[in-house]
Symmetry: D2
Subunit: 121 residues, 4 copies
């Protein structure tokens, strides 16, 4: 299991094997995976909560490593959920960027953190 992972398909395959070896499919309903992903995302937020910005210089090596593994957890649950719901993550991400490009045209959204519903006003 130690060969280098090159892409999301290989990561999915490795996660499938990991889960199958432990007979964990029974717990991995989409609802439970979505809960777990949400919990991991909050654990990723936790080390940032009292920091000013969390820029890399503000993080100790220990905290950076912890954050890196929380990001890994988020990705792993996301890939398992995508596998279960038959979602192509890269295609979805690409489509979402196109949709956001329409909601936030560069000339009106430049330099603004307003939501698109506010921008239109």
């Amino acid at each position: 299991m130690s060969a280098k992972i090159q892409n999301l398909q290989q990561l999915r395959d490795q996660l499938r094997a990991f889960v199958a070896e432990r007979d964990w499919q029974q717990f991995h309903t989409p609802k439970n995976l979505a809960s777990a992903l949400s919990v991991e995302a909050a654990e990723l937020l936790e080390p940032f909560q009292w920091l000013k910005t969390g820029e890399i210089e503000e993080l100790s090596a220990e905290t950076h490593t912890a954050i890196r593994y929380e990001m890994a957890d988020v990705l792993n649950y996301l890939v398992m959920l995508a596998d279960r719901l038959d979602v192509d993550l890269l295609a979805a991400a690409n489509e979402k960027i196109q949709l956001n490009a329409q909601k936030y045209p560069a000339q009106t959204a430049r330099g603004s953190a307003l939501k698109y519903t506010e921008l239109k006003k």
Copy 2:
């Protein structure tokens, strides 16, 4: 911007361009990206919250599409955060699987949803 994205590097490059065109780097501190990721993860959980399991058959086509885009949002913020913190997501995911394999050996964890701290007892 409509060419097919083949891998996480290309997704990162596309996100960099999207953000730069809107001059949004100023808002994208790691702390803010981690908050946004956490909010998107909760939006992904939201359609599942009253469902039994959220298996694909339980989802309307409309809900499946909404979930797919929420997954895209999570991935996009995760890739932007990784870019900002200099994290190789696939390498981190792979390492985390190795660590979990040690914490949850197949023979003791099989069929159990206990946390590793409980398994050891």
Copy 3:
């Protein structure tokens, strides 16, 4: 600090004293408090994530205690945020119930977990 707390005002006062003694107001911006509240809410969700329903019978005494303290954390951050934003929590909760009563009339919403935007269809 050990006298029994009788209501939300007394809880707020106790939290104010706790924070002032530690000079923590500087970290307690509304944004940071909202992040912390969100992190605690996820920690509250965590022990439920692989359970069927999390009914009280399904929880060990240890888990029940852990959940109870996570609920306390959520309430404490909520009260501190309300104090900072000048929100009367009970009045807001009451108003929200009235609003939900309009969005979800008993006769149409009975026995349904559909969102009000779906109910109207």
Copy 4:
């Protein structure tokens, strides 16, 4: 249902009536309530995510109202979960403050946002 709510017990009673009238107890397992609470906490975080601090002066009247109702949602789910798990929220909150007072003694924690595990070093 429009009489003023004076305390958490009255809020609990009002929520019980609201849920019973809609026959929603079936959806309100502790697990589902914890998910819903977590989703609402993220919705509360959402308007703050790109702000500097979210101090009351930085919020439009509209945003303040939206935040106020998200806080109401968090409280309402918290009270329903406490009812289901037989938790006295004020007693738990009080105990948690005592525990935190031990983990974060005023003289060592003053002016520091370090976690207690870090403070001890």
